[in-house]
Amino acid sequence: MRLAGFYLFALFTGILPVLFPDSYYVTVVGVTICTNVILAVSLNLLMGYAGQISLGHAAFFGLGAYASAILTTRYGLDPWVAMFIGAVLVGIFSLVLSRPILRLKGHYLAMATLGFGIIIHIFFVQMDNLTGGPDGMSGIPVLSLFGIPIDSDLKWYVVMASAMLFSIWLSLNVADSREGRALAAVHGSEAAAQTMGIDTARVKSHVFVLSAVMAAIAGSLFAHQQSFVSPESFSFFFSIELVTMVVLGGLASTFGAVFGAIILSILPEILLVFEDFEVVIYGAILMAMMIFLPQGLFVTLSRRLHCMFASRFQRTK
């Protein structure tokens, strides 16, 4: 019963391509949504559950993508091996980074993660003999699973949706684990968590690494799906967009992050009809939502629904 919402969502993602196998919104936008959901869910582990803001999450996504791109095209490694090596490297890197960076709090943490993201992005642009510079890298080989090449939009939808569902399942379970409760305690008050005997530095660094590795794997999948990577996809703005997804849905709720990622991935598609006004409207919507629903869209809505049902239930009794 604990995972009822998850099964419902899994059913929904499974039915969509059966009902609309040729829809642009399912197979093309759907794949983008899946990527963004994985990233938002991973960031939510760090921001929502542990309460540690990160304005540089796109960097891990980019490191994963570039690791796959470089290892497969320049060194001819198998895509799965490359993905694994990328994930391990990002894991080690984030582990080293986690201790000094997570000592910081509030605005200082925001600044440090932001700086980190920008530095990595500049490296993507500048190390052109390795990364192809601002033009990026193309010709990333096709990924194949059990001997079947994943070469159509529909096949990618299946792969990305499965990866997304796995990350949601993982996040829900982490939140309910011993470590997850320790994280919630850290979020509430770090000093109180320490006095309860929680090694706060260790718990925080664990979740930082988990969240970074999830983003790196999403990056590897993204690189193969696009068969092209360029620094633009991993800029400061994308980090901000990810934070917005998490906050928009509602912090500390896995489905909040899912919801936020879905909305922010669809919004630009809808706003395309406004052409030149797209950016202005996007900014205005962002401001309005945060001003009027500071708890996040999903959390506020689900609370309202909850209240409605609860009062109706009482009346019938």
Partner: protein
């Protein structure tokens, strides 16, 4: 070598002055309302762009500058009134996203009005280089440094010697107490946002003849200003000024002697190192958390 160093120092101090002004704006808003205003860079852009626009409409240069600053101040007021005030009790992350939303909005508006073109302003007083020993300095560099100096002194005077300035300081220490002694807290917040916007606009107009401006010119300047404010210890006004100058000089030296491609990275590497070793900035005071 030495003349190169001198030349780098001159451009470093020029860029640093701009970072200092932007950082000062960050610190003022942060002090007054606990908000990290990510739209600070947009003030810089709007100040410069609206001045360019007015000069293009053949408004006399000094009047155009004045109007550019006024327009930016109005936008600062609007930001406080329509975005920050309605979200009074929002958390740090929420206010960060609101100001980011505002910056996207303003950037989008600038894109609509002025397009993607790059604009420049004429130098304030000619462009004949003045030589100091082996190095040369442009009159506009002097304008930037002098203008910054004047602005910083004015801000310092405002906070130290005027009733309004002291009232804003009172609000930043304790809003409720300030309210109880009869200070109009909402008005003070509005003034703080206006002041910060004015500083941004001044920075944008001073630097526009040297670096040009475009609808997205504010992004990096805003982030560097944030770096300056953090470097000086968030919330310390004069710390932000010192942080900005330091950042500008180190960045220019790094770009000159190491690699210009990594120029922007240098600023952020410095900030990371400082944060790792002194988590509350160079000039910040070590604070104890109250549990």
């Amino acid at each position: 070598m030495l003349d190169q160093l001198l030349q780098f120092l001159i451009s470093g101090i020029t860029v640093g002055s701009i970072y200092a002004l932007v950082g000062l704006g960050f610190a003022i808003i942060y002090n007054a309302s606990d908000v990290v205003n990510f739209a600070q860079g947009e003030f810089v852009m709007i100040g410069a762009m609206s001045t360019v626009f007015l000069v293009g409409k053949e408004v006399p240069y000094p009047l155009a500058i004045l109007c550019g600053v006024m327009i930016t101040i109005l936008i600062g007021f609007a930001l406080e009134k329509f975005a920050i005030e309605p979200a009074k009790d929002a958390s740090v992350v929420t206010t960060i996203i609101i100001t980011i939303g505002a910056s996207i909005f303003l950037r989008g508006a600038a894109l609509l009005i002025w397009g993607k073109d790059i604009y420049g302003l004429p130098p304030f007083s000619g462009d004949r280089p003045i030589s100091i020993g082996p190095a040369t300095i442009l009159p506009q560099n002097l304008w930037v440094i002098g203008g910054t100096l004047l602005s910083v002194i004015a801000v310092k005077f405002f906070f130290d010697h005027t009733l309004t300035g002291k009232a804003i300081l009172a609000c930043s220490f304790n809003k409720k107490a300030a309210y109880l002694v009869g200070i109009n807290v909402r008005k003070m917040l509005l003034i703080a946002y206006g002041l910060s916007a004015a500083l941004g606009a001044v920075a944008g107009i001073l630097i526009a003849p040297i670096t040009y401006t475009s609808y997205d010119a504010g992004v990096m300047l805003g982030l560097k200003g944030f770096c300056a404010a953090i470097l000086g210890g968030m919330g310390s006004s004069m710390g932000a000024v010192a942080g900005g100058l330091l950042l500008g000089v180190l960045e220019t030296l790094g770009a000159g002697f190491i690699s210009s491609g990594y120029k922007d990275a240098i600023a952020f590497v410095i900030i990371l190192l400082v944060l790792f070793f002194r988590p509350s900035g160079i000039l910040g005071t070590q604070e104890a958390d109250r549990v």
